[in-house]
Every structure is written in C-alpha cells, then in structure tokens.
C-alpha cells in the first residue's frame, strides 16, 4: 500500500523561493471564468483581475513536491499593478516569509508574485494558511 506523502508545518522552509512553470492566458480561460462567476469584462481582450490570482495556486501544484497539509486558507492581501490581456503568459514566484506554531497546526505566510512574459511583476501579495502539524502516530 502506498500513501500520498504530504508535507507538514514542521517541513515548511522559510525564505525558500519557488518558481512555477508558465501558462498563456487565453480567451477560453476568460470565457469559462465568466460563465462560472458572471463577472463581466469591460473589454473581451482583458483578463479579469482575479483570474490570474486564481491560477497561482494551480501553477504551484505543477512544481513537483509533496502537497502541503493545508487545514484552512485564512486570508489574502493582494495588489494588482498592471492589467493583463488575453495572450499574456504568466508564472508565479513565491517565498514563505513567516511560520508561527499554534497549538493545533501553525500559521504560514507566503509572499506571492505574478510575473508576465516581460519579467514584470503584474500582481503581488500575501497568502496566509493554517497548516497541520505532523501527527505523532504518522511520522512520515
């Protein structure tokens, strides 16, 4: 029997920088997003500002590593610096800046940036998660 290895609060390395693969933003993405949210764009060539933010988590999953045992997503502080357009290609860069142990689990703060094909930071901010600690009966 194989079990999925997860990484826990104890495994989180502060200051470790992670860069994801990139993806091109297409009309298809924008269209599916509009159907799902009904957030209408002022211009069909523009990418709704929250959509790239939604992509950053999935981009993170494309970096091979055991998934972090997130108990809850607590908050986000986010800045949009530049409007993205259909055809732009983005990737994400992240760095954990703080980890704070609690009785049940621990709080992890991650700084995240979205970078376009010109290497410019177009959105950036901070994600806060509650992450599980490794259970004593499940040491690996």
């Amino acid at each position: 029997v194989t079990t999925v290895t997860r990484s826990y609060f104890e495994d989180v390395v502060v200051e470790n920088v992670e860069e994801t693969p990139a993806m091109t933003l297409t009309e298809g993405h924008v269209s599916i997003y509009h159907g799902l949210t009904r957030e209408l764009p002022p211009d069909a060539a523009l990418v709704p500002d929250l959509l790239p933010l939604c992509f950053t988590t999935g981009l993170g999953w494309r970096v091979p590593k055991p998934p972090l045992a997130v108990l809850a997503f607590m908050g986000i502080d986010w800045q949009v610096l530049r409007q993205l357009r259909v055809g732009d290609t983005i990737h994400s860069r992240s760095r954990i800046t703080t980890k704070r142990p609690m009785r049940d689990g621990g709080v992890v703060v991650e700084e995240r940036e979205i970078i376009d094909q010109r290497g410019e930071v177009v959105q950036r901010g901070r994600f806060t998660y509650l992450v599980a600690k490794r259970a004593k009966e499940n040491p690996v």
């Binding site: 799902l36 009904r38 929250l50 959509l51 999935g58 999953w61 908050g75």
Partner: protein, 148 residues
C-alpha cells in the same frame, strides 16, 4: 441615452448593496478545479474529506472570492472602474456544496488620487451563507473614473 455606468462623483460614501443569492454547486467546484488547476483534496476528494473537520468537500476560497465579484456586478449598476488595485480578504468559514451565498457591500472610503480624472473607492464586502454566517469578508480598492 441613459448613463449606464456610475462615476466617482455619483458614488456616495456609505452606500450599501445586497446581491441576489447564489447556490454553490458541485459543478462550480469541479469547473473551478479544472480552470485553476487546483485539485487540492479539500475540493476534490469526498472520501478524504469525510475524515476532515469539514466532513465533506468545500469550495476553493478563491472560488468564493470570484463568485462574490460576480454577485457585486449583479448588486449594483456598474462603476466606471478603471482598475481593480487592491484586496484585503479573510476566509472565515467553509462554503459547502449546496450552500447559498450572497454579498452585502458598503462604500467605506472615497479618496482623491494624484490624477484629477479619477478617484479611489474602497468597498467593504461581506459574503454570507443561508444561515447568515459570514464565510468571507474584506475590502477591495477600485480606481473609478470621474465625470469629465
């Protein structure tokens, strides 16, 4: 022709909006997982989630954030928004399959910017479920055009 968009000058401090409700379905979560590439077990593994504190799959936090953006568009006439510039947001509780969420929003600040043709509008937003529990809340900053 009637003006369809509301300018910085038209928006009053303290204005409040209530959106229609929207039931979040399993389909919404599946589509969002496919779109975003976020297949975290929290959202996709019903069996695993039976053992969790939530007892079942929950919606992605960012799906709730995206849905409230759409609910805002249904709650008020569109602003003459030039840019969405900032977000401060807290995820207070889970959105489960079948929950009906709605948005309550309030204009809490209007500020001048360096440019005379625009201003900054801060909207406080609360996402409530069918039991009136707050599931998400925060503030968004929008740059809105002034009347010429």
């Amino acid at each position: 022709m009637a003006e369809l968009r509301r300018y910085f000058d038209d928006i009053q401090l303290g204005e409040e909006y209530d959106s229609p409700g929207r039931t979040v379905t399993e389909t919404d979560i599946v589509i969002f997982a496919g779109l975003s590439g976020d297949y975290n077990v929290l959202h996709t593994d019903a069996e695993f989630m039976k053992q969790s504190i939530f007892g079942e799959r929950i919606a992605h936090g960012l799906l709730g954030l995206a849905i409230q953006a759409g609910l805002f568009a249904r709650a008020t006439q569109a602003y003459a928004t030039l840019a969405f510039v900032g977000l401060r947001w807290k995820f207070k509780g889970p959105i489960k399959i079948g929950d009906t969420i709605r948005l309550r929003a309030k204009v809490v600040a209007k500020k001048e910017t360096g440019k005379p043709d625009r201003g900054l509008v801060t909207v406080q937003r609360t996402v409530l479920n069918q039991r009136d529990e707050v599931v998400q809340e925060g503030e968004t900053d929008l740059i809105v055009e002034r009347r010429a």
